[in-house]
Amino acid sequence: MVAFRNSDNSGRTTGLLLRCVLYSLLALGLMIVDKRYDHLGKIRRLLSIVAYPVQVAVESPFEGWNWFRESITTRDALRADKARLEAELRVAQFRLQRYEALEAETQRLRALRDSTAGVSNRFIIGDIMDVDLDAFRARVLVDKGARDGVFVGQAVLDSGGVFGQVARVEQLTSEVILISDAAHAIPVQINRNGLRTIAVGTGDSSRLKLPYLPTSADVIAGDLLVTSGLGGGFPAGYPVGTIAEVKRDPSQSLADVDVRPAAQLDRSRELMFVWLKPGAALPAASTSAAPAAPVPSGVARPAVISPASAPASAPAGAPAGAPDAAAKRAKAPSGPPPRAPEGANDE
């Protein structure tokens, strides 16, 4: 920088330089403190409360428009809607009958196998706010925060399947990182044969990939991927996606597998924050209340729902020792992938 100096201006230039250095050092210091230590959570939370009105102000015209559109829908449209919803409910209830029987059976089998699959027994529903975050990262802002008990790392589902996890919690809002974010990985298994691996985001909301499967792995297009529950972050057994394409190049040791996410990552409005009890016992055969199932989004707006059957009545089978066993199982195969140390790569 060639300084633009003349006699009356040089004082101001040095002043500018001084202030520039000062503020830059302050910013650098902030970055280091924020990155290295965890003391800035409070400051950040405070600042975000200041930013919250702006976000709400931006969102309000859209809310207003939605409200306006809803309030001018005709009676006929509402009746058609009601008929459709009733039909859907009938189908859902029909399915649920089978589901309860199946769940009871699963739990019996799990108890036999001494399994540790976590059970989510409480969830709240949050709305995605109409606010755009960084365009280069797959994150959304949701209107539930520390006040509602949301915590960092919490699993978030939508009606289709796993949506993401909580990356940051503010007082009133939280930021959810989508499973499609390029920095996100989730332990999964193939539903058909139980093959465990890691699904990694690509940055494209319609695609995940499985980078750690060998070419010889038993995986075919159309396979359903579910969460494996290893690592303890996500509840086990929720759909993550279906295999869209498997490319096997004989000269490579790893296959190139594309996954289509089950959750509607770019369309969902309502998300479920799940409280997972790792290692908690499965509620005994009483499956009367089954809120652990993915509920169609838009059920029960007032949010907190706890099941009738608290996990108080624990079967003897799956107590606290079990997570260790799961961890050992997970660590047993050699060479776990570098990005997700808790997950296991192969069978």
């Binding site: 520039c20 910013a27 950040r44 975050l133």
Partner: protein
């Protein structure tokens, strides 16, 4: 001044379709540049620093990233202001382009240093759009400012 910064902040988070999102110019950055050039005593580097902090919080990145980039570039803009004011519209836009590119570069560098690099090429679109928008924005703000 505070009002223009708030409006720019709102424009930064207002939802647009995903395809347009990468084309969104850095409104707040442009507004800070405008004040740095027009009347550096009004907001000065303090404004740049605070605006940067707001962007950090909203984007959820490491605290200080945008603040650092914006402070440095606003200082540069302030340094250049006397020349900028007599520049033609084209050269003003080119200078703003350089400033915005520097801003993105610092962001890019900090992203890399903190271990979550954004390698997408589209991030370098923002300076182009911002530079194209500059004459319009500066003109509008100057008119509002005079009133």
């Amino acid at each position: 001044m505070a009002l223009s910064a708030l409006v720019a902040l709102a424009l930064t988070v207002v939802p647009v379709p995903l395809a347009l999102d990468v084309l969104r110019p850095d409104f707040l950055v442009l507004v800070v540049f405008y004040w740095s050039i027009e009347s550096p005593r009004a907001g000065g580097l303090g404004l740049a620093f605070l605006a940067g902090l707001a962007l950090d919080v909203i984007n959820g990145v490491v605290l200080g990233q945008h603040a650092l980039a914006l402070t440095l570039m606003a200082a540069w803009a302030t340094h250049l202001r006397l020349r900028l004011r007599v520049f033609s519209v084209l050269s003003q836009s080119l200078t703003i382009f350089a400033l915005l590119t520097g801003y993105q570069f610092i962001l890019f560098w900090v992203d890399g240093a903190t271990g979550n690099p954004v390698t997408s090429f589209s991030r370098w679109l923002a300076p182009v759009i911002g530079a194209l928008l500059w004459p319009l924005l500066a003109g509008t703000m100057a008119r509002l400012h005079e009133r």
